[in-house]
Amino acid sequence: MGMRHPIAEVRGLGSAKEGTGHWIVQRVNSIALLPLTIWFLYSALTVLGQGYADARAFVAQPLNATLLAAFALTTFHHAQLGLQVVIEDYVHLRWLELASQLLVKYVGWFAMLLCLLAIIRITLGG
């Protein structure tokens, strides 16, 4: 034991006091994903069987575009929330844990933006 007071050794190692928020957000997100996923599964398997023009027409339809955007936003948020917990559980090397958490967030945001801009572009007929 060093010269530091024991309280200094344990400070910052306890609860971050934000676990409940994460838990609630994950549930709110998951409930929304239930109907969105059923819709997506049905739509995607139908659209994949058709060609380019039909797929463009499907995405360009306003309600489909909205549901696709909602699915993309909710899915990438869900993925980040889930991977965050998996990394917290299994990656114990501090720098690697931080790097993975950042990577998960940035890749998630990037893919989310990619989806949204693609949907907007198809909707506007670009």
Binding site: G12, L13, L34, G49, A55
Partner: protein, 136 residues
């Protein structure tokens, strides 16, 4: 962030897979939920690729379609559908637990079997409909 370390190694319970625990339906379904969750993150990126290819134009969509209709593509789609259906059904099971329902051993096993059989059956149905329509 603190640089300090715990004064001594704290005891940890062993990981659920390994020599310490006998494999059980409950623990296997639990790790499968995680496994499908992590795999679906890759699936989500494929979804993004699909939208990107569709927005980028006919040439890039043709590349996507060729790959999606190859044998490997079909296997990936089948795995994606199974992961989605399994994670969704077991997710419903988790949300029921959150309400306090079904936490006793008998119900946990019963819902576990429903998830197992249900996810395989729904996946088979989805893929049959998709591939029968000359699609995916």
């Amino acid at each position: 962030m603190s640089e300090s370390k715990p004064m001594r190694e704290r005891p940890m319970s062993p990981f659920m897979i390994g020599p310490y625990y006998r494999p059980q339906l409950t623990s296997m379904l639990s790790i499968t939920h995680r496994g499908t969750g992590v795999a679906l993150c890759g699936g989500a990126l494929l979804f993004a690729w699909w939208l990107y290819a569709l927005a980028a134009g006919p040439a890039s969509y043709a590349t996507f379609e060729t790959l999606a209709r190859s044998l490997v593509g079909k296997l990936v789609i089948a795995g994606f559908v199974f992961g989605l259906v399994y994670h969704m059904l077991n997710g419903i099971r988790h949300m029921l637990w959150d309400t306090g329902w079904g936490l006793d051993l008998k119900t946990t096993y019963a819902t576990g079997y429903v998830v197992m059989v249900g996810s395989v059956a729904i996946t088979a149905l989805c893929l049959y409909c998709a591939f029968a329509n000359g699609g995916a």
